[in-house]
Symmetry: none
Subunit: 366 residues, 2 copies
């Protein structure tokens, strides 16, 4: 830690929000001065028409001007420019996080590689409460992707292995993180009572990122600051931050938010702990995994009924189709039925409850 470092450090506009275009603002900062960059760039969503929920309410789309690009080419030029500015800012051992969805993350990832960033992990944020796919035309888009990369292959990047292991109840942290989206009181509102920003990220996500890859006193830059989640968590954790945001409305909300944040607030630490309840195992998984095969027959425990397994994990009995529970109930003439305890399969001439297979899967999961 020589004199130069100290001087440069003091020149940085620490713990403030810069106004303006992120590339110009980054270029105004001294080279090699930042420990970590967290970036949540526009995703370049290409939404066509309106979308309604089955109850006819309208989905509030992300249709802001800042998310519009004329073409992939324009988006790539933008990505190239801000990543170049970002790389210049990083210290030799610095690193970057970028978050995105399938609309943009592949382009960002390729450009990171092109510029010589060194990928350390891609991380999946699995949303515990995502918005469903209302029209039933695709899979529920239940995750977003983060890329964690060091400035160069030889960078001695920061990784607090033990801290993350502790966060994960003593076992190594994996590349998939289950966290809820930002809702409720954490979700900032404007004066009209509407959400202040369409894509506010949860503090729990930033908490994990900053605990994992920075140390207290590090300087964290967020070139797409928005309403300042990165700044808020950095302040709580005793890291310095610099935000860049060109929309005045977002800056205002962020300033107000940051004023009320205190260091070492433990609230964001209390991420909804994984429920100790037994994980749900869909019956279909037994079929996919080959523990039972399509065409195989199941017998009811009482021996009075049987049904055949189909490729999608449903059963087909006499004139009845549906889940293990539905078919069991129908055959028994009962209002409901726990298929797991009702059905058995035959192995070596003996009836074995299918619940045994579920227990096997659950054992593997622990």
């Amino acid at each position: 830690m020589g004199k130069m470092t100290k001087v440069m450090h003091e020149a940085l506009p620490l713990n403030s929000i810069l106004d303006g275009d992120c590339i110009e603002a980054m270029n105004s900062l001294p080279e090699g001065s930042i420990d970590l960059i967290f970036a949540d760039p526009p995703y370049n969503l290409q939404l066509r028409g309106d979308l309604h929920r089955p109850d006819n309410s309208k989905v509030d789309a992300v249709d802001d001007a800042w998310d519009q690009f004329a073409s992939f080419r324009k988006y790539d030029e933008f990505t190239q420019a801000w990543l170049k500015a970002a790389k210049r800012l990083l210290k030799p051992n610095g690193a970057i996080w970028v978050i995105g969805s399938y609309h943009n993350i592949f382009r960002v990832g390729a450009e990171l590689q092109n510029q010589g960033f060194w990928m350390l992990n891609d991380v999946v944020w699995r949303k515990s409460n995502p918005m469903p796919n209302f029209r039933g035309k695709r899979l529920t888009n239940a995750h977003e992707t983060l890329i964690w990369a060091s400035k160069t292959e030889s960078s001695k990047y920061t990784f607090n292995y033990e801290a993350l292991k502790a966060l994960n109840e003593g076992t190594q942290m994996r590349s998939d993180w289950v966290l809820p989206i930002c809702t409720g009181h954490e979700r900032l509102k404007n004066d009209a009572g509407d959400k202040a920003h369409p894509t506010q990220k949860p503090e729990s996500l930033l908490h994990r990122v900053l605990v994992a890859t920075t140390n207290p006193g590090d300087v964290v830059l967020d070139p797409f600051f928005g309403t300042g989640t990165t700044g808020a968590v950095a302040k709580k954790l005793g890291r310095d931050f610099i935000g860049i945001e060109r929309e005045a409305a977002y800056r205002e909300v962020a300033e107000k938010r940051l004023k009320n944040v205190r260091k070492f607030d433990r609230s964001s630490l209390e991420v909804t702990q994984s429920k100790r309840a037994e994980p749900r195992v869909p019956f279909g998984q037994l079929v996919e995994r080959g523990m039972l095969t399509p065409g195989e027959e199941l017998w009811s425990l009482n021996g009075r009924h049987k049904a055949k397994i189909r490729a999608d994990g449903t059963l087909i009995g006499d004139d009845v189709k549906g889940s293990i529970h539905q078919v069991g109930a129908a055959l028994e003439g009962a209002p409901s039925c726990n298929g797991w305890t009702y059905w058995t399969f035959k192995r070596d001439g003996k009836k074995v409850p299918i619940d045994l297979l579920r227990q096997q899967i659950r054992a593997e999961m622990n």
Copy 2:
């Protein structure tokens, strides 16, 4: 379905493994003949090491940004070539799956977009038993990424929504799939007792992919066939496959494997159907058949509105005339309305949904 389709179909080398380079082999097949492509391309190809310029001059170690670019460029050229060949092969409503890790998936995803494929989802295969990160320098790499894309934006791609919902015990399938890696008896060994292929995919993964996005009788191509997981699952599920594999050792293992695979019986391949597949019943038919009579009144399910049936099967409410859907939408001030579930008629003083009558007619049709 004319003669041409039939002839082309018969010309395909169905349920066999082609020897040779995947691009040449693909180009030898007829255009527009494939329903689905599943591809697990290599990602270590020239990505690290073996760094020579095209003229074979040695690469300066200092110049490592350029090195990476050079090797990435080679990989991109390869990706470009095989994706182009793949797109040519797909039917207009065809689709592709590609699986990869952070080493290559960003480049593949960007190229898919560049070539005009239309991304439908990125899917995360969340491994339930990944290899830990032994050195503790990064996060446990616990997932791989799949991209599902249709040939073009306007393709009417296949998606068996209800079947996947059934596989997931009644709630719609998400973009994160928890499945174990391929181990145990499923993991193929060579004569020396070592694993026959370094990255054999689990059949459960292919099961889900094929149930989701193909129908029985579809043609599935796998240009990087390896030990033939795609073929094995396709055969079980009553889909036709074409494999391409240039390594003789893998082809041998795959041939042997496929010989022992049996197709599931036909009825178990049928999968839960969507309501959209049901025949359309015009509301007017209920009136024609006398199930409802002109002049009779319908009440909305919520009890707030009523309307009178006219002889032509339209409704008339307060200042609104039109179909059951149009009148329902107008009265609710909603953008659209499913009249079948919105309206009820009275029998013995009780409200009965008109959809019950439609179900009666549909039952008669079978």
